[in-house]
Symmetry: C2
Subunit: 206 residues, 2 copies
Amino acid sequence: MALRVVGVDPGLTRCGLAVVDVESDRRATLVDVMVIGTSADTSLDERLLRISRGIEAWLDRYSPDALAVERVFSHTNVSTVMGTAQASGIVIAEAAKRGIAVALHTPTEVKAAVTGSGRADKDQVGYMVAKILRLDAPPTPADAADAAALAITHGWRGAAPGSHASGTANGGSSGLTPAQRAWAQAEAAARKGAARGGRATRGPHR
Amino acid sequence: MALRVVGVDPGLTRCGLAVVDVESDRRATLVDVMVIGTSADTSLDERLLRISRGIEAWLDRYSPDALAVERVFSHTNVSTVMGTAQASGIVIAEAAKRGIAVALHTPTEVKAAVTGSGRADKDQVGYMVAKILRLDAPPTPADAADAAALAITHGWRGAAPGSHASGTANGGSSGLTPAQRAWAQAEAAARKGAARGGRATRGPHR
């Protein structure tokens, strides 16, 4: 049975939500994706209310087993960090109210899990999210793709405790991690596409 | 009719709540005060859930007209600011869900409103909160006194728009602000107490 994970990339202007079902064999399927957008012209309480209503409806609709949210650091993006933290607090509390397990993952953990590198850029993350979820293109906007990446990261951890326990995708000499395997497959597919003279896909930026 | 204001000093470890009724003549009465405490040993989702349940019960019990919460800045107290922001987001959203007007006040505005000085220390704020609310001692812990100060600040603004509109208690040459009047009365009372040889009260630290 699949583990249903809601991933949340919290933010006041754009709060990305994704629902991903992760099978025990790590196969991941995107169920839905959404961005709750609020305008800076709106009062803070109205913006936070909209985010609260949005996540409530989302959790009630999809009844996930777990919610994965980006761990917010105070030293990143000082201008937006307060709103991001306020949104994340609301999301976490609404999940907790419903008895949904909450996990926090750092951006580095997420990048490492889905691309194999903790220093991957947005394009790499979006590209790998699309590959992992077998989509033609990454979910847009980037907040939605990041939410999906969070859900995948958490689902993979849950599916096989230990293999991703360190939060890095560096599995050592014993073999490729799922992310690395997916990456290798994606690279191979991109090469094959280019060899066939097909439309150039957006390849990995290594 | 009194304006009922809930003041909230948000925090993850201690979230101070106060209910203050403010009359149109600015007379302020403490209705209740509480601190929601959560332990750092508890998971973040459990802590935020407890804060959420606490503020929900508080708002449902006291049905305030307005909620005043401290405006959190990202550059203050970096180690605790994320938890503080998460707690404040939850509090604001729960008020907004109930149609309760939400106002944000900076610590400087609050200090200025209740003591007459934006640079007042904790003791001064607590002392003035006790005087304004006609209590024998400030509510404890300090988070509760700060929550009461927030509620007073907002209630006074609401009672007479304009006189506190700038967020400072410096009313210019036209007369004393309510805070300055209360301060002057408190100083006079302290002097009288000392003259009577009564037990020394904690006087203003100017």
